[in-house]
């Protein structure tokens, strides 16, 4: 069954609507700033700010603003949890909160409506769920008995539980820890909740803060670049870590129909698959990605020819960018290849947040009908079987359906099919 663009159904399912978007990252404290950064090809990378952590290493990062609780988030906090103390939760929770506040505001969902609904909260993260307090660990391993507050902090850092507690909402909660694909998987999972009637509205995406352990880990794996990252470029040397959060507000068709709020678009399909190949490297031909793409398109009930834009994972590592373009070559129509772009040149690789931020960017590009080229890529690698759109170019989009894809450590691959509303 094919879907009419005005229909409320995909196959046998109701469509899941997107009514709000939120984002915070080095590219801006909200979605308009993110889009402005993309349009201006603005790169805000630099040395690790000392207020995040100290390091002698020279690998640049994309740090978010020092103060991550935006005015929109403060307004929400004043209403939802006036006694909430930001210092009692992690930076990752605060990043997620700010993106959520922006998304809810755009969706026109106030606290009263939120608390009257079953609210699903699904977030992807990697750093956000770990215990990285070096001071506590070092004291403990030397036989001391440090104050237990960091353990309390760790146990209170579950993103979905923390946001439910702050917002005073009830409903399904999940934190997806699928490494770099976490945010994409979280949106797919929330879509499933809405399709199965487990919630009326969902807050979904990803959030991650910069951490010294992850920073050093990627350096040790020789996957980080000492210069600003250049995804898909012939001289790419690796990724730059970033931090941030990207959130989309999803609603059931029934709730949206009652509220009559403006719809930004739809999550039409979701697919995930495994490489079953290597702990940290992608399958060289993108085997799992091809499977995930096939599942997502079948789920969306569309053909590959309907895709007008691919927001690639595009980290800037040698292996990822080659695997990804190889998979896309086999998958996309040869003569109608849509623009393939990575947006990590303006955000860095935000790990668990990447899928959320990139879903926001994908939907906004589809709505605008135009996509700027990959920031940092001036000469696409001629060894790629397809040519990603380089920085100096931009391209008008031929349709309103696009995909946002993520690849992860452990061989995970996740793909969202997104459609913009008129």
């Amino acid at each position: 069954m094919r879907q009419d663009s005005r229909s409320e159904r995909v196959g046998t399912r109701e469509r899941v609507a997107v009514t709000g978007l939120g984002s915070i990252s080095a590219a801006g404290k909200d979605v308009p700033e993110l889009l402005a950064s993309l349009a201006a090809r603005r790169v805000r990378s630099g040395p690790v700010p000392p207020w995040l952590f100290t390091t002698a290493l020279k690998y640049p990062v994309f740090a978010g603003p020092r103060e991550v609780v935006t005015s929109t988030a403060r307004f929400l906090l004043d209403q939802a949890a006036p006694h909430f103390l930001p210092e009692t939760v992690s930076r990752t929770v605060l990043l997620a909160l700010s993106a959520t506040a922006e998304g809810l505001a755009q969706a026109g969902v106030d606290l009263a409506l939120l608390r009257s609904c079953r609210v699903g909260i699904a977030f992807g993260t990697t750093v956000g769920c770990t215990f990285h307090n070096e001071e506590y660990y070092n004291a403990w391993r030397h036989g001391l008995q440090p104050d237990l507050q960091p353990v309390r902090y760790f146990l209170g850092a579950n993103l979905a539980a923390a946001l439910h507690a702050i917002l005073g909402t009830r409903g399904p909660a999940a934190v997806v820890t699928n490494a770099c694909a976490s945010g994409t998987d979280a949106i797919g999972l929330a879509r499933d909740w809405l399709n199965s009637g487990q919630c009326d509205i969902a807050i979904a995406g990803g959030a991650d803060e910069l951490s010294r352990v992850a920073y050093n880990g990627f350096v040790s794996l020789m996957l980080a670049d000492t210069a600003p990252c250049r995804p898909f470029s012939d001289d790419r040397q690796g990724l730059n870590l970033g931090e941030g959060s990207g959130v989309i507000i999803l609603e059931s068709a029934a709730l949206l129909s009652r509220r009559k709020h403006h719809c930004l678009g739809w999550v039409r399909g979701y697919g995930a698959a495994s490489d079953a190949w290597h702990p940290t490297a992608p399958h060289p031909e993108g085997r799992g990605l091809k499977d995930a793409l096939a599942i997502a398109l079948a789920d969306a009930d569309i053909e590959a020819s309907a895709i007008s834009f691919v927001n690639a994972h595009g980290t800037g590592t040698k292996a990822n960018d080659l695997a990804e373009t190889t998979a896309l070559k086999d998958f996309l129509p040869e003569h109608l290849c849509p623009p393939v772009v990575s947006t990590k040149g303006i955000t860095g690789h935000t790990l668990g947040a990447a899928g959320g931020i990139e879903a926001v960017l994908t939907l906004m590009a589809l709505r605008a009908g135009i996509i700027p080229g990959t920031v940092g890529c001036h000469n696409p690698d001629p060894g790629f079987p397809i040519r990603p759109l380089p920085e100096p170019e931009q391209q008008s989009l031929n349709g309103r359906i696009g995909i946002s894809q993520s690849l992860a450590f452990g061989g995970g691959n996740a793909v969202l099919v997104l459609e913009a509303a008129l």
């Binding site: 146990l155 539980a161 439910h164 934190v175 820890t177 490494a179 998987d185 799992g288 452990g410 995970g412």
Partner: protein, 269 residues
């Protein structure tokens, strides 16, 4: 026809009883206990499930964990402190990522479908079961391997003892693994009809101590102690009994109740 989801196998394994099969010995030589428990429990569950001719992409992996590979996370932190910047062990770092276990399971058991690792402190196994059920209902996969693993860590044990003034921790590191099937075309029981989970905000210490947690329902028994895997062991023991005895033919409901929420699993036969 409305799709159904059946449970065809349920395995439980304590870390103390873990034996890595010879054919996985080499592949798991660098793996931590978290990864080994996930792989071995999943392998056993698949061996005990009815054989099905499925493509590797038709099976998915769903892992639920509260604390993840925490000991490896600390080893990784120790490597950073001891070895210096940029010298952190790549193996430790990559194994400290929560979904490393899912990657090993997919590689060693040739599973090419989705692999989702979910983290929550209340009932991560039930959350993973629910997501696996939804993935089957959406027809993206026909079979799911659903795993819960906890290995804890010395640091967490010390914190727990100091928090509660205890000399010993009651935790039992281990894993459970269930096999879920799209039941439209095969005849296996019981069927997972519905799963509902509501988590309630609580003091972090309660999530470790599990004070006030209890469960009730057909074949669900106490005696697994009070720790973050106890409910998963109880559910698995009961499910194994139901699968093997095939005696209960009426609908059943399992209820998990605690100060940190409620979970409900409805079964039909």
């Amino acid at each position: 026809m409305k799709k159904k989801v059946a449970v065809s196998a349920a395995e439980m394994m304590l870390l103390a009883d873990l034996t890595v099969p010879a054919d996985f010995d080499r592949a798991l030589r660098r793996a931590d206990d978290f990864i080994k428990l996930a792989v071995v429990s999943a392998g056993r569950a698949l061996n005990n499930a009815p054989p099905r001719l499925l493509a590797p992409s038709e099976t998915g992996i769903f892992i639920g964990t509260a604390y993840g590979p925490l000991e490896t996370n600390f080893c990784s932190l120790g490597s950073l402190i001891d070895d210096g910047e940029g010298q952190i062990s790549p193996t430790l770092f990559s194994h400290s990522v929560y979904n490393a276990a899912a990657g090993y399971v997919s590689r060693l058991l040739t599973i090419h479908g989705p692999a989702l690792t979910l983290t929550t402190y209340a009932w991560p196994f039930v959350v993973a079961l629910d997501q696996a059920r939804l993935a089957i209902l959406s027809a993206r996969i026909k079979r799911a391997v659903v795993i819960a693993v906890e290995t804890y860590s010395g640091l967490l044990e010390d914190a727990f003892k100091r928090w509660h003034g205890l000399a010993e921790v009651p935790w039992q590191p281990g894993a459970v693994a269930w096999i879920l099937e799209a039941a439209d075309d095969i005849s296996v029981c019981p069927l997972l009809a519905e799963i509902g989970i509501t988590e309630t905000a609580c003091e972090p210490g309660q999530l470790l101590a599990r004070a006030g947690e209890h469960w009730q329902g057909d074949s669900l028994v106490a005696g697994f102690g009070s720790h973050p895997m106890a409910y998963a062991f109880a559910l698995t023991t009961a499910m194994d009994l139901l699968i093997s005895s095939k005696t209960v033919k009426h609908p059943a409901e399992w209820l998990l109740d605690a100060p940190f929420g409620q979970a409900r699993i409805s079964l039909v036969f």
